[in-house]
Amino acid sequence: MSALELQPLLLQLERGPGPLTPQVLAALAAHGRPLRWAITAAERRPQGGARLQIEAVILRSGGQP
């Protein structure tokens, strides 16, 4: 337990079709277990879709890449 670390994370995500939550969670999961996250900026594309900025705090065990 002493090896737990909390890391801030900033991600950019191109939104694909379908529900948004699974897309965000999949993007975050690559970095660890999300403790807290939010979409903090969103820019809609003229051709459809959107570019999202996600800020998060990720929980990782020590030594985890």
Binding site: P8, P19, T21, A50, L59
Partner: protein, 343 residues
């Protein structure tokens, strides 16, 4: 379900994003009280209800820590109303002895004057090392240097019979900072909020208990220009009383497969309210993806993540008063569209 029966409603006002209403010391409580009356059942989080030395208790309002509220919205948790919780008090070893004593006296006062069940008290085995930070957007986030120490103390409290946990962490004093000055005068973001959320999220997620946090800080010098929205935080020596009152009747967190009749589940929720510019959070997206009406309330904040950018269908409301009207319409089975012209 008959028209007029309570309509479980979620109220989300994210912490640390500088909301004009709800971004200070429990200054969304009046809106929460109104929405509780309109819905008959309001589920909301500590940032809405915590006003440091001030608090409001209403059996129609369910006090649920933010990450647990997100898990409720995702359908992972149900909420089980209780008559009372036994609140364990978790204190950061980094709190100085006199400030620690102040917090113990708040617990004593809440036991003696309000009849709350509080105890045991556990100190962390090393200082938690809280630091404050802002994200790329200016949102308050914050760091916790020793998360393992927090969890070890929480597990000791749970093993000792605590059914909810109030945690007090020593936060850095920065009385001369521009951010604090702006906050006390009604501008900017609550710089403490992000680290507070990290602490309560971690405890609640790992232990499965209702949790809430109060920062321990040295008293500030008198500010004659103090904004009324921040005044609740300058009435005493601690921010703990509201947390203890909130947790005293916070619902139990039940894994969804273990839900029983009488528990609250996301399938019963009839509406969610959030600031119109802060729709990019887990609970809002979960509600929208389930087809639950999302009421986007005009409440200026640091973010501009609105319905159009996210492709969400929402009911707009110019104020929480208008939003309460929409909740009442939904509760009574009245189509919100019928209340607007042109039809």
């Amino acid at each position: 379900m008959s028209a007029g029966a309570p309509l479980p409603t979620l109220l989300v006002i994210p912490t640390g994003i500088g909301c004009e209403l709800g971004g200070y010391a429990g200054d969304a409580i009046p809106a929460a009280r109104l929405l509780a009356a309109a819905s008959g059942c309001l589920i909301t989080h500590p940032n809405v209800m915590n006003a440091a030395a001030l608090y409001w208790s209403d059996p129609r309002i369910h006090y649920v820590e933010g990450s647990s509220l997100d898990r409720f919205a995702a359908g992972e948790l149900a909420l089980r109303p209780v008559r009372r919780q036994r609140i364990g008090l978790l204190l950061d070893a980094g709190i100085e002895p006199e400030l620690r004593q102040r917090h113990l006296q708040v617990a004593d006062g809440c036991r003696a004057s309000l009849g709350l069940e509080i105890g045991p008290v556990v100190d962390t085995d090393q200082p938690l090392e809280v630091s404050l930070s802002l994200g790329a957007s200016g949102v308050s986030w914050g760091r916790l240097g020793q998360p393992g120490a927090l969890l070890r103390a929480g597990e000791r409290l749970k093993a000792a019979g605590a059914t909810a946990i109030a945690v007090v962490a020593r936060f850095p004093d920065d009385p001369g900072s521009e951010a604090l000055t702006a906050y006390r005068q009604g501008g900017g973001v609550d710089a403490l909020a992000g680290a507070e959320a990290v602490i309560s999220h971690l405890l609640s997620q790992e232990l499965g208990l209702p949790c809430a946090h109060a920062p321990a800080l040295s008293p500030l010098p008198l500010d004659p220009d103090l904004d009324p929205r921040a005044a609740g935080e300058e009435l005493g020596y601690t921010f703990l009383a509201c947390v203890l009152v909130g947790l005293s009747r916070a619902p139990d967190l039940v894994p969804a497969p273990q839900a029983q009749p009488g528990d609250l589940a996301m399938g019963q929720v009839g509406a969610l309210l959030a600031p119109a510019g802060a729709l990019g959070g887990a609970a809002v997206l979960a509600a929208a993806e389930r087809g639950i009406p999302v009421i986007a309330v005009h409440n200026p904040c640091l973010l501009q993540v609105g319905a159009e950018a996210l492709g969400l269908q929402v009911l707009p409301a110019a104020s929480y008063a208008e939003a309460a009207g929409l909740v009442l319409a939904l509760r009574e089975g009245i189509s919100p569209a019928a209340l607007r012209r042109p039809l």
